[in-house]
Symmetry: C2
Subunit: 366 residues, 2 copies
DNA sequence: TTGAAAGCGCTAACAT
DNA sequence: ATGTTAGCGCTTTCAA
């Protein structure tokens, strides 16, 4: 094992060292490094030999300084521990990697962080070529971020579902997803449909709740109970237990994410509540494990990786755009995955055909 | 909404612009930026006003060039979609953020990637101050990485469990964890203990299997069947189904991770196999959701976040170290979390006291 | 307290 | 095919 791990002590070779070693100018070395054609084969060989010999690596820092480009995308995240966030980051890394871009990742200390200026400034100071704001959309944070954007920032894509005329956004249609889930339950003939939501500071949580609520209202069914969790399975368990005390005759429940749904299933199994006969359950996220819950979970799949991939692609496509481009807004669709916890309506005849879902109607929400 | 999202078009203000605006030298501006004391209050005020006016941000790139430091840590990951990897990254971001370090993240295209040279070179070219190699440890990759380390690389910490005299490593004791799990099952009086392993190219998978195997051998019990999964719950389901055809009278099973354990529980529940009465199950990872599996899962908890945190701390503590430091090797302990799927021995009297676990004995493995 | 000069490592633009 | 000059934006001497 020849080489030791080492600090920066032995001064790193520079382009000038190589030039001296070969008796050529730095320019020639630069040409070799950048695979320019206008170098004689012999010179090229000599330079390459020298480079290999001393293990020279051109400084990307110096290059960035000259080019005013870093081949780096800044990513702002929060809550990497959450399924959605980490899946999205996964898509971002995958796609940026494929185009030779590195990621400069900054994680917000907490979700409520409204002072994002230092974070953005850190990234722009590092001259990232673009920024992806992938922190969950809270009541306050995104709007304030936008208001605070420094004058000269690179292109930025917000991963949020509220479109804006001034900023590029890519989001997932959580509202439609919530409706989709609830309409599925209605189609099953269920009429007492509860909801366990995520924390309502999260826009995702509010949108899903709104979808649930509007679907119920539209159907003419009575409002069901709603309790709030914090996305964890433990909180789903707690919320469901509370809900049972309030309304024991629930016949369906739409849960804001798959993990909380796991908690619901746990309680139901423990209490002998039969799923889906006594209680139909639909989750949200589409995590792979949901297929192996007991029983397997019907859920609304989110294209989270795609979200990350599209964000990078949008950025790459518009890196060179002149100033005040029209903002691009894009919304991705969810998809219902039907499993045992809320089977297809054909499996159990639905008592009445539901009217087709009319135009969106928003109403006061529980 | 005042400011528009914009490209790089309006040339970014530099320190020189500020200097001209204030009629001072660049040096003075630099002093203000760096909060040096030797600037008159009036000058400082004027400079700060100008900076605020044009939204000037000093270029971190230029600074890095001068300082030969980037306040950036390079992270090499693979399989961000996996629970362990993402949890560890979570710890890394948290800790580095706290110290003002940014993360330059590169994801390997796939696990088998043995040619990591370009990745390392990318990071060193960007003059990261340190590198954390957080890709899962495969049969081949880590060793080859170490052999290929470029001459002048910054300090590197390998997140792997095989200690090395030449490189700093931090790992989790998967072998002990596997033993721990299996000994728990033995203490429950189980004697026909199967194992669903992860892909055996992964060192984590091999170590856990070895722990299982050695615990069984040590106890004098007969070897149980072993099947290999790919960490997913679906693969756990498939592996367990195969296992049942081979050995239907299994009374316990140690599963290489919690997700595959979920698959096992799914099959058991579907077939009416009672857990833990007919079959005791122990998983590995300690993911929070395991508490809400049906039944709740006994599992071996891994300190994954701690792993990330310690990696960063090690790096930060040794950034300025001169050359060939003695390598530091560290191993973190796992912890058994006892739940319903394999309850504490007191719950059901164990037939015989097991001898205390003797020194490690490795034997040919299934 | 302030400024001038040199240089970090590289590339673009113009020589030759 | 190769070299020279200038400069990217900043900080570090060293002077004044």
């Amino acid at each position: 094992m020849a080489r030791q791990q080492r600090g920066n002590s032995p001064r790193r070779a520079t382009i000038r060292d190589i030039a001296r070693m070969c008796g050529v100018s730095v320019q020639t070395v630069s040409r070799v490094i950048n695979r320019r054609p206008d170098v004689s084969p012999e010179t090229r060989a000599a330079v390459e030999a020298a480079i290999a010999q001393v293990g020279f690596q051109p400084s990307a820092v110096a290059r960035s300084l000259v080019h005013q480009r870093s081949s780096t995308i800044g990513v702002i995240v929060a809550g990497l521990a959450y399924f959605g966030v980490s899946q999205t980051l996964n898509g971002i890394t995958e796609r940026s990697e494929a185009s030779g871009y590195a990621l400069l990742v900054k994680e917000l200390a907490n979700f409520e962080t409204t002072d994002i200026v230092p974070v953005i400034e850190f990234l722009t100071a590092h001259r990232v070529d673009g920024i992806i704001f992938a922190a969950p959309e809270l009541e306050t944070n995104v709007r304030s971020v936008q208001a605070q954007l420094p004058a000269a920032s690179p292109p930025i894509v917000f991963l949020k579902s509220e479109p804006s005329p001034n900023y590029t956004t890519i989001g997932i249609d959580n509202y439609a997803g919530g409706r989709q889930a609830t309409e599925h339950l209605l189609a099953l003939g269920r009429r007492r449909i509860g909801h366990v939501s995520g924390p309502l500071e999260w826009r995702e949580a509010r949108d899903r709740r709104d979808g649930w609520w509007d679907a119920i209202r539209t159907s003419g069914a009575a409002a069901g109970p709603r309790f709030e969790g914090n996305w964890s399975s433990a909180s789903g368990r707690a919320a469901f237990e509370q809900m049972l005390t309030v309304q024991p005759d629930l016949d369906a429940i739409f849960v804001g994410n798959d993990q909380m749904a796991l908690g619901v299933l746990h309680v139901a199994n423990a209490r002998g509540i039969r799923i889906p006969d006594d209680l139909a359950v639909v989750g949200f996220d589409g995590m792979a494990e949901a297929a192996d819950f007991t029983p397997s979970l019907t859920t609304v799949n989110q294209p989270l990786r795609a979200l990350g991939i599209l964000a990078v692609e949008d950025l790459l496509a518009h890196l060179d755009d002149p100033d005040p481009r029209p903002a691009r807004n894009r919304m991705l669709e969810t998809e219902l995955i039907v499993r045992e916890s809320a089977p297809a309506p054909s499996a159990r005849p639905s008592p009445a055909k539901l009217p087709p879902s009319p135009a969106v109607v928003r109403a006061p929400r529980p």
